[in-house]
Symmetry: D2
């Protein structure tokens, strides 16, 4: 028997997951004062309280308002204030001025979250059509993305402060086992199936699943480390234009880059600002907060190149679950292991473009991914701050090539 | 008998005044949430909590550290964070990024204020040299200036918010008595004594007292009103370049000015955002938040001119205390009366330059006024938000000619 | 018998070609006054006289100085003034200030060209090593590229002038035969060989020749016309954010785009500024001066998409020479025919990235193409202003997606 | 007998003067190529050919079109292209884009000048009303101002070129006799008559003649020299914020000022770019190309101040004709003498504001001076490049305090 609504068991699972995801956002905000949650230190950054409200607005706008009978929005003004970029839903507050909004404050936003959570609870109590359940699932994944953004953004806010405050004490993450072999993993090339083809949740941009033709190549079994990067710096990597893309070299000069983001040179050598405060750069840990321009220049300096996203996916999907490491949340990337998905996002050589046959979803949620498919580069994997269970080998993240505030690093490739 | 320290009575007076002024700042901040106190909506604006800290830093830096034996600063980092513009005291946090600082938060800043207040109390308990007492007095006047800035700044912060929140409920100020005659007050010209010559506190820029030679002129007994300004708008005042200074016309076009600051045209006509929230423009009240460019263009449109500061002072000092109105604090200017000092700052035709023989004070406090004596225009009078007792007819306020966030209006002049 | 130098016949051919190419540059500059040749109306534009000097500097720097015994540079300062972007050759005059240089003037630059031409003649008289002959060939192709840039740039200069002067009188180009069928050309997909694999001159970025895997698709046999674009405008294409990439919509709003570059709406409808002066938009002719953002939005509006560069190449290489039309130089694109290579550059869906196995040439000439392989989109075909014989179906042109001063249009694609 | 037209003798004088002034402009342009005359290297700079056309447009617009019967303008488009800032006359080409205009070229502009000169000749042949003769006189003075601007502007154009070309060979100016006493000239203060009160030509801003009240003071008999300035540099003048106005210090840091404009530090010490090419800084010659900010800081460093414009005028008008030196045209300022009017414009402490009772002329020529009376500082005297006979002690020149491309220096003042 076919049904257009989800089963009781599925509803119950989704409700549990809804509570978990929503609670985790609040847990992430918990160490932050009202002041911390309010400011915006560059246009890319959004205030913590904005993230808390925007993720709530998503459920209100795409689930409750159209599908929950009799639902009335908590505050009509919130639609204007907390729409991020959905042109189809109406006008919105300009992104670079999100940090100008002091009202609603954190207490009102907490109340907004509770009101929407209750309405969602009531809504999920009844029959939920499959397509609406899919919107709820999208909303949960959306909120997980914002959990990572919240940490990226508050890291920038706190690092901007000369007092260099920590977001949280050191989480004393258990170091991973060292990679058994710092080695190359070869691949014979040929036609490979790429993209997500299953029923489990995935973003529209991960499909359609399709064939790609690869030449033989090899990927490094481990990430580029901070120690590798120190060699690059010492060898004058930031002073040799021949290593850089033209636009990248312009960025080096305009922004006076001499090291990855959050690195500072003191009398004791390089330190890095982390969510746990400043600490000395650990040569063994993966390099993080490198822009694509830097990753590309580093790879050239090393006599290698960045992998394409199809190459990355072909190898990653062939490694065991341990190597993937999708469930290892932490505030700062750690040394050791193959680290495909659990430490830093890995820049690829691929520009972010649609897969063959890609069609965005209908309606305003179709703006989720498709309209960003130019000028950005794909990153694969997932970072220590990516929520557990959120990433997978087919996941396509993307940022502008000059961006450095994401937890971005790299893995080397060579032609075989 | 000559003494270099202040008397017990004077010390007691100053301590009382110290407590009053310091408490008033806290009272002004009281209606504001931690979020409200943190943001900066344009480079001219400083966060409320910054004002609270900076005024405290002033006493710590110029009184306690050099003069209170054994005093240790509350936090060495505050010197960097809360120095406004005193080059002589060391480097400082960049002004346009004051709104990036979430730490110290409002609670820590309240504690900072209490710590410095206690240290000041102890310090003022003992003998205080006359020159140090003068620094304390400067610090109190400095804090009063920041009380006005705090209100100017939070008005901008709140008005920027699409929710248009009020700072405080309407204060239901008793309207002033209507001016008995909306008339011209003539002056025969000749040599007039200008500037402050007394022993009472005044800023260095108010002196030396000196002679100015004036031609015969007349000043209007009342301020230009919002009603007058509506006529200017309706007559196309913002569309006729011949009325404007060249730089002013460029500002009109670049910033698309069509009315004074905080005015909005809705279906019901013009409204103005006040500290008590939006309200319809009242034609009887003085126009406020006009730039110098607008004031100058309005005067030309009216067939008049702005008064020079010497003209303004010559007439103002001849009016009675009631006309001056220096003690009529309110959140928004009110209709009625001569309004020399109690409603809006009045733009003059005078560029802000030193009086003949002007010498700034020695040391870093000498940076207080002198280094701003170019590119700005003098305003005279005082506004409804100027703390009671803070202004006087010799007081020289100054802003750039494009500034509109001060409580600035105008009074007309003509040659006789 | 293997030889490392070129044959007498090959040398003679190259000399003839050298003279032809060099003379064509001078012919292009001939209608332009000294004033016309001097200015720069935006950072992308270079002055005509700079193009004349820079192409000369290329031969001096990469052929004569390293390979012609005893050669002395005409003026040591020219190395600084006329280096475009070769970091490996030394510092250079900033690109946005090329229009600030009044000296050397056009007469001195003509003399510079003659001096280098004579030295090249003498040099090519002797034995020329194969690799040096290859550099000469590169220099000639480089100069041909600048011939097209010269026309793009002077078009911008002249169109900026309110007098709207023409570069040259209408060239009365014979209209092409109408396309027999305005139709779709299907392709079954599968593995296709892509890129240049032959011995004839081609740029490094056209190789290595390699396999690409395509899904079935179809391309339009004709270009999108100005008439098609008028429909897009009338249908509100420039006002519907859903049609646009996010960055493209930002460009529409920031630059107030309402039509392609050089289009102006007058009382008689749309006109376009051409190198022959302004004229009414001809609905039959290909649309030109569209940015990638506009091309992409148009394709979406039309229910189609842009072709990938591999798709474009697969079909173009299958058409006859007549359809390619590589030798049909003119000052403005013309209606009719399949127009693969002779009318407008055609934006593709492909970001400009290296082909698998790509290696830039050694030395400073290796900066020719490789360092631009991020942030730009590939265009294929060739334009009416592309010198005869310069383009071919494997040719990869590239511009930023917001650029509109190139002769850029589009051809539609659909999935089969 | 009163007449409303000028006498035959006066007409003849004016025609002779017209020919002289117009011819001098052409003589100034003569050493410059078409390329030199076309470019604009910063927004303040206008191209030489624009100056030649704009001064011609002035006569066409304000004299011929309204007053010469049957006159038809040479080209209706010129009204748009060559209007500088007269809002009353209609729209105009944007100032920062004057350097984008290649047409009309120098030959067409020469023809434009000839056509207007001929029409003016014919016009001045007949009866000329007194008020029209006054407009002609204004036009001649206007053209003389542009003769100086032409030299200021071309100096910037040529100095921007790395080849550092000279405008003309060294003019071997006879050095002035050394000042007999490098001394202070005292003034007792009191009421002084200020401004122009005579019938001879003067600008509207020089009047009305009126009384000013001065305190006793003294002015230096000589200008500040380059040698004095070297001491200021060596003493760290550009590194001590306490010497600077706040806005000036911001300019020092933003523009990285370390010396006056056109000064360059080489291995042989400081050189200066002059209209005769680069030369070593001569310590004896007056410092030139100092901004007001620098002049003000220098004066403070020297324990002095800048004179007010009334002080300057009171002393200058008391010196003999030799001391004034109004007729000593040269391409670079020279050492020696009192140099009130013939070497460098001298910054004053006075903001540029209207004199008491000032009324601009009626009509568009009323925009000549009045609309600039804010944000600028007065300079007095006249420079070596000011046309002979153009300046006088009441002449009020004005520039923004950050400007350095004028021939601006300073003379010190002290309170007596």
């Amino acid at each position: 028997m076919t049904t257009t609504t989800t089963s009781v068991a599925a509803r119950s699972d989704q409700r549990a997951r809804f509570h978990d995801v929503r609670a985790f956002t609040e847990r992430l905000a918990q160490p932050l004062s009202a002041e911390d949650q309010t400011v915006q230190t560059m246009p890319d950054v959004s205030p913590t309280k904005w993230h808390r409200a925007h993720t709530t607005w998503f459920f209100e706008t795409f689930v409750l308002s159209p599908h929950a009978e009799g639902y009335e929005v908590v505050d009509p003004a919130y639609g204007y204030l907390f729409n991020s970029y959905y042109e189809g839903v109406g006008p919105r507050h300009a992104r670079p001025r999100r940090g100008h909004l002091t009202r609603p404050g954190v207490a009102e936003i907490a109340a907004y979250r509770r009101a929407v959570d209750e309405a969602m609870d009531a809504f999920m109590d009844g029959d939920v059509a499959r397509d609406v359940a899919a919107l709820v699932e999208l909303g949960l994944n959306h909120e997980q993305q914002h959990q990572e953004l919240l940490l990226m953004d508050i890291k920038h806010v706190l690092a901007t402060n000369p007092l260099r405050p920590a977001y949280a004490p050191d989480d004393q993450a258990t170091p991973r086992p060292a990679a058994p072999d710092d080695d190359w993993i070869g691949h014979p090339g040929g036609v490979v199936r790429t993209g997500h083809g299953g029923d489990a949740f995935h973003y529209d941009n991960e499909g359609p699943r399709h064939d790609e033709l690869l030449a033989p190549f090899a990927l490094r079994s481990t990430l580029v480390t901070a120690g590798d990067w120190l060699e690059f710096i010492e060898d004058g990597g930031y002073r040799q234009p021949a290593l850089w893309m033209s636009d990248g070299w312009a960025a080096v000069q305009a922004d006076e880059w001499e090291a990855p983001g959050y690195w500072t040179l003191g009398s004791d050598g390089w330190s890095i600002h982390t969510l746990c405060g400043p600490r000395a750069v650990d040569p063994a840990e993966p390099v993080v907060h490198a822009s694509w321009y830097e990753a590309d220049a580093f790879a050239r300096w090393a006599g290698c190149r960045l992998p394409t996203e199809a190459e990355w996916e072909a190898v990653a999907t062939s490694r065991g679950d341990d190597a993937l490491g999708v469930d290892s949340w932490a505030l700062h990337p750690r040394a050791g292991g193959e680290q495909w998905c659990g430490e830093v996002w890995q820049w690829t050589a691929s520009a972010y473009t649609p897969y063959p046959g890609f069609q965005p979803a209908a309606g305003a949620v179709g703006e989720y991914n498709g309209k960003f498919m130019v000028n950005q580069q794909v990153l694969r994997g997932g970072a220590c701050v990516t929520p557990s269970g959120h990433t997978r080998p087919t996941y396509r993240n993307f940022f502008y090539p000059a961006s450095r505030w994401a937890f971005s690093g790299l893995r080397l490739a060579v032609d075989a």
